[in-house]
C-alpha cells in the first residue's frame, strides 16, 4: 500500500516535470516560457527533495526559482519582440533530422541507464566517502566531497563563474534602472533583505554538518541584492566599485592562498591536514560565498555598473554613463 502511494506520487511528479519541460520549450511567447521555466525550477526542487538530495533542493530553490528567473526576465526587455517563431523557417527536412537524432539519442541513453542499473553493479563511491568523512573536518558528506576531496573541482568552478562574469562585464553597460517602486515594495524590502542576508549566513554556517554551504549561501546573498536592485535601484549605487572588484576575486584568492599555505607545510597543494580541515573549509566557504554573491549580482545587472572603467570611482560621477539607455 505504501509503495503504491509512493509510486503514484513519483509518477505524478515525473509527468508534471515532463509536461512543464515540454510546455517551456514549445511556447511562442517568451514571457509565458520564462514563467513556466520558474515553475519547472520549483518542481525540480521538490524532485531533488524527493530523491533525498536536500543540498540540491536548496540550490535549485535559490537559483532555479530565484536568480535564473529574474535573470531571464530582465533579459526579455533587451529584445523588441517577445514572440519567437518555432521551426517554421527551418525546412521540414532539417526538422525531421533533428527529431530523428534526438529520438535515437534518447533510446540509446535509456538502454545505457537500464543496462547500468540492472546489469552491472559498478563500485559505489559512497563507501569511500563515508570512510574518509571523519578525516575531512566536516560531517556533511556533500560539503566534504566539494571542499575537501574534490577541492580542485570547486576552485576551478569558482574560476568558471568568474570568467563568465568577466565576459558579462566586458560586453556592455548595466541595464537601465527600473523606476522607483511603490511604497509597499520598499517597505517589504526593508525587512526582507536583512532576513535574506541572515538566512544566507545561516546556510553558510550550517553547511558543515547539514545541507547548505558556500554556493547556496552565495546565491541567497545574490538574491537579496537582486531584490534590492528591483525595488530601489538607487541603493546599489552606494557600493564602492574597488571593493566590488576585490570581492569578485576573493574566493579564488583565499582558496589558492590556503593551498599554498598547505604546500608550505610540505603537504600537497590542497590537502588539508585533519586538525585544521574544519576551520580551513569554513574560511574558504566564507570567501567563496562573497565572490559568488558578487558574481551573480553583477551577472544579473547585465554589465558594468556606472563608473566601472575609471580607476577611482571619485571622478566617475562626473563622466556621464556612455549608453543613453
Amino acid at each position: 500500500m505504501i509503495d503504491l502511494l509512493w509510486s503514484i506520487f513519483d509518477i505524478s511528479l515525473v509527468l508534471l516535470v515532463l509536461f512543464l519541460a515540454w510546455a517551456t520549450c514549445s511556447t511562442q511567447d517568451m514571457m509565458r516560457a520564462v514563467t513556466l521555466f520558474i515553475a519547472l525550477g520549483l518542481i525540480l526542487a521538490i524532485i531533488w527533495a524527493r530523491l533525498k538530495a536536500p543540498d540540491l533542493a536548496l540550490a535549485e530553490a535559490v537559483i532555479g526559482a530565484g536568480i535564473s528567473g529574474a535573470l531571464l526576465l530582465s533579459a526579455i526587455k533587451d529584445y523588441p519582440s517577445t514572440t519567437t517563431e518555432m521551426p517554421s523557417r527551418r525546412s521540414s527536412l532539417v526538422e525531421w533530422i533533428i527529431n530523428g537524432m534526438t529520438l535515437g539519442l534518447v533510446i540509446i541513453m535509456s538502454w545505457a541507464v537500464w543496462h547500468g542499473l540492472y546489469m552491472s553493479d559498478g563500485v559505489r563511491l559512497s563507501e569511500q566517502v563515508m570512510s574518509h568523512l571523519p578525516v575531512s573536518g566536516v560531517s556533511n558528506p556533500v560539503t566534504a566531497v566539494l571542499l575537501n576531496f574534490r577541492a580542485y573541482d570547486t576552485l576551478l568552478e569558482l574560476a568558471v563563474v568568474l570568467t563568465a562574469v568577466l565576459t558579462v562585464l566586458n560586453l556592455n553597460h548595466k541595464r537601465a534602472d527600473v523606476s522607483a517602486a511603490s511604497a509597499l515594495l520598499l517597505g517589504m524590502t526593508r525587512w526582507l533583505v536583512p532576513l535574506l542576508v541572515v538566512t544566507s549566513g545561516y546556510l553558510l554556517w550550517v553547511g558543515a554538518h547539514a545541507p547548505g554551504g558556500a554556493f547556496q549561501a552565495g546565491a541567497m546573498l545574490a538574491a537579496a541584492m537582486i531584490l534590492l536592485q528591483l525595488s530601489n535601484p538607487s541603493s546599489l549605487q552606494g557600493f564602492n566599485l574597488s571593493v566590488l572588484r576585490s570581492l569578485l576575486v576573493i574566493g579564488i584568492f583565499v582558496f589558492v592562498l590556503v593551498g599554498i599555505w598547505m604546500m608550505s607545510l610540505n603537504q600537497d597543494f590542497l590537502a588539508f591536514n585533519p586538525a585544521w580541515a574544519g576551520s580551513l573549509i569554513l574560511i574558504i566557504e566564507f570567501a567563496a560565498t562573497l565572490s559568488i554573491a558578487t558574481a551573480l549580482t553583477l551577472a544579473y545587472l547585465g554589465g558594468r555598473p556606472m563608473g566601472w572603467e575609471s580607476a577611482n570611482p571619485a571622478d566617475s560621477a562626473t563622466k556621464p554613463n556612455g549608453k543613453p539607455s
Partner: protein, 94 residues
C-alpha cells in the same frame, strides 16, 4: 526501489531529449537558452536518479556535489549567453 531509480532517470532522459530538440529547433536565443537549461536539468536528474538508493539506504554524495557545481555553472553560463545576446541585439539596432 530499482523502479524508482529507473523512473526518475527515464524522466531525466526525457527532459534531456525535449531540451536538446528545442535547442536545435528554436531560432530565438532566449528560447534556445531556456531549452538548454531544461536539457541541463535533465542530465542532473539522471545523475541523481542513479545515485538514489531507496528510502532507507544512504545516498551517494559524489553525484550530489557534481550536480551542485553543475547548477551554479549553468546559471553563470546563462548569464554570459544573455549578455552576448544583448550585445548582438544592440549591434543589430545600430
Amino acid at each position: 526501489m530499482i523502479s524508482q531509480q529507473l523512473l526518475f532517470s527515464l524522466a531525466g532522459i526525457g527532459l534531456f531529449g525535449i531540451g536538446l530538440r528545442a535547442t536545435l529547433l528554436h531560432q530565438m536565443l532566449l528560447a534556445r537558452l531556456l531549452a538548454l537549461n531544461v536539457g541541463g536539468a535533465g542530465v542532473c536528474l539522471i545523475f541523481i536518479a542513479v545515485a538514489y538508493g531507496g528510502i532507507e539506504q544512504m545516498v551517494d554524495p559524489v553525484p550530489h556535489a557534481l550536480v551542485l557545481t553543475g547548477i551554479v555553472v549553468a546559471v553563470s553560463a546563462t548569464a554570459m549567453a544573455l549578455a552576448l545576446g544583448r550585445r548582438l541585439q544592440e549591434l543589430d539596432d545600430e
